[in-house]
Symmetry: C2
Subunit: 385 residues, 2 copies
């Protein structure tokens, strides 16, 4: 195990009906800006519940944060914050709204060109407005971490930043608020949480049994509950456990003291930027190919994954690895997320464009060994044509 620091100060308020307790977590004299996306929080009742819970507060609104939240949109929120002297933010929505709110919180408190936060990185952030979140889509883990991914429309860039200043003060996780999600978003969320876990687990053995067992526990839970949520979409208990799995998959805990990969995410971001695919769709395409081309470097953990997550104990090592990767692909497909470019109407030209984008972004040393090249990216994607 490597040395590490772990500090996650976000308060999680979990369960059906918990939105009603919102007011006690926000200073009563705060000028609150509620940030959200499209209209889904209005049709599923979340909007009304939040407004009712904050009836005693001064609340302004900023709507229209899009999936893969855009710098250009978010800067309008920053302007509103300055104009209206807002001092507390409340994100209401999924990971994109929470990610967007993190950027807004940091940009509003930043002296200088806010693009620095994405160009130079989170280390330029010295302060941020305090904010909380009400989560409606379990997937990204943004509700309990300090990371954010923002896109710039103008330049088709997708950039991530991290800063300890952008942990949410609190996040309310009410699984009932996820019951009305379209199945596509449900499947995406399960795949996203699954791949967050593999990025921190499927690397090389690092003698970290607690982190391994926790990661395997999350993967087993997602494999078990994924089909259940499709079969019984009204089962709020299934929703609750998926929601908690997704939070735990990316709140930093399973990644302490272990090597991390993230090649799948980095390549996936380029696919989203180029073709507008959902984030989870890109992960479902990229991961199986990456596991195949990295099977030697990842052999020890792939075998452990095969046995502990998929119960594969028979056959040669290579047969077990193939079966585990095959099961992973089949699981994503079962969740309604195609794992091949052809499933999205894309062909070999998409590979050319992605490899070019990877090169242009200078992503020449990806993965836990920092040695995945653009040529490797091509090989991985060719396995998912």
């Amino acid at each position: 195990m490597q040395n590490f620091e772990f500090h996650n100060p976000t308060r999680v308020i979990f369960g059906v009906g918990q939105i009603a307790s919102l007011a006690k977590h926000i200073p009563s004299d705060a000028r609150v800006l509620m940030l959200y996306g499209g209209g889904s929080i209005k049709t599923n009742g979340t909007y009304d519940e939040v407004r009712a819970a904050l009836a005693g507060h001064t609340v302004l609104e900023f709507a229209g944060i899009e999936p893969n939240p855009k710098y250009e949109t978010l800067m309008q929120a920053v302007e509103l914050i300055h104009r209206e002297k807002i001092d507390f933010l409340l994100a209401v929505g999924g990971g994109s709204v929470v990610d967007g709110t993190k950027f807004v919180a940091a940009a509003a408190a930043y002296d200088g060109d806010a693009w620095d936060i994405l160009k130079i990185g989170g280390k330029v952030i010295k302060a941020a407005l305090p904010f909380g979140a009400v989560l409606t889509l379990p997937a990204t883990g943004s509700e309990m971490n300090s990371a954010s991914v923002i896109s710039r429309a103008e330049t088709q860039e997708k950039r991530a930043f991290m800063s300890p200043h952008v942990y949410p003060r609190f996040s309310v996780l009410d699984p009932a608020k996820t019951l009305t999600l379209p199945l596509r978003q449900v499947g995406n969320g399960v795949v996203d949480a699954f791949v967050h876990t593999t990025e921190q687990y499927l690397t090389y053995p690092a003698n970290a049994p607690v982190q391994d067992r926790f990661a395997e526990g999350l993967l087993q839970t997602l494999v078990e509950l994924g089909p259940q949520v499709l079969a019984r979409p009204d089962d709020v208990e299934v929703r609750a456990n998926i929601m908690w799995s997704a939070t735990m998959a990316l709140n930093g805990l399973i990644g302490v003291g272990v090597p991390q990969d993230w090649a799948t995410h980095m390549i996936g971001h380029e696919l989203t930027a180029l073709f507008g695919l959902d984030h989870a769709q890109t992960l479902a395409i990229v991961l199986p190919g990456i596991l195949q081309i990295r099977r030697e470097a990842k052999r020890g953990k792939l075998l452990q994954y095969a046995e502990r997550v998929w119960g594969l104990k028979n056959g040669t090592e290579d047969e077990r690895i193939d079966a585990a990767i095959g099961n992973t692909r089949a699981f994503f497909e079962q969740m309604g997320v195609p794992t091949r470019l052809s499933g999205y109407g894309l062909g070999p030209e998409a590979i050319d464009a992605t490899v070019a984008a990877v090169e242009a972004a200078g992503l020449t040393g990806l993965g836990e060994h920092r040695d995945i090249t653009p040529a490797d990216v091509r090989k991985a994607l060719q396995l998912s044509l």
Copy 2:
């Protein structure tokens, strides 16, 4: 899964050599009181490392916090704090020192009779001095939670309190500092962490698969590493993983949203108060008997425990439960912690005294169903004569 709140603001700084980074986590102008126990931190080098790391700070000392830390001793530290205008505490030692420091931190900031904190409970605490910890004995989890257990010599009472004000600001966990522990404390620590986990896991099924898998992962890790630490006491990697297991076993995470038992701890506290047994020794005596007498109420989870932690899949349900309880007892014995009263020179009269103490303390409804009576306590202890 039940509704819950989870908020754990302690910063963990983990790994060999991390004591050197202490200074940056304590305000430079703080007047620090370093609290510790006996001399072990002086013989194993921890004392010197801490003093060197805090060379630029004003540091006073309070030594002599005993195992099962005593109210009478701790109140002397409170007096010193007031006299010397101390504003930051640093616990250096094991769970007793950390527990004691929590009480001191709260008592020093309390207006009124500090015994209230133990008599009425942590809810009387409205503030506490800030403090950090340097852990030298992995066992109690106190380094990353808000609980503390304090004894009063005068009245032979052992009382617990919890308060969000007594989370350590930070805890430094250097596994190298545990290499010189006597084997008795090593075994105790593993048993303590194991039983912390079972108290939150071996209850009844609550549809909380993530919490279950995490708890099982900790138990599996302890079962795997316990014999290794005895066989290779110089292996700092084994120490590191045991240390992290013990922290994760009682930092609140595996207990969110699930029923909890704690009968074994409550009964064990009486055994310590009466006979001076180590905390873990009492747990090793009590747990196997409690599992036996509660086998019907705990049947579902005992079967899950048998299969997932001990790999027991054959035989009748009752055979698997018996085997799992037997394995648990054998594991504790293997760790050098006797599981029978006779192992400590105690006989049936000790049971009479413990049952009387349980009655006197009004502990008439213990366990996750709050229905364990003093007569049940007698039955459980008779199975560990």
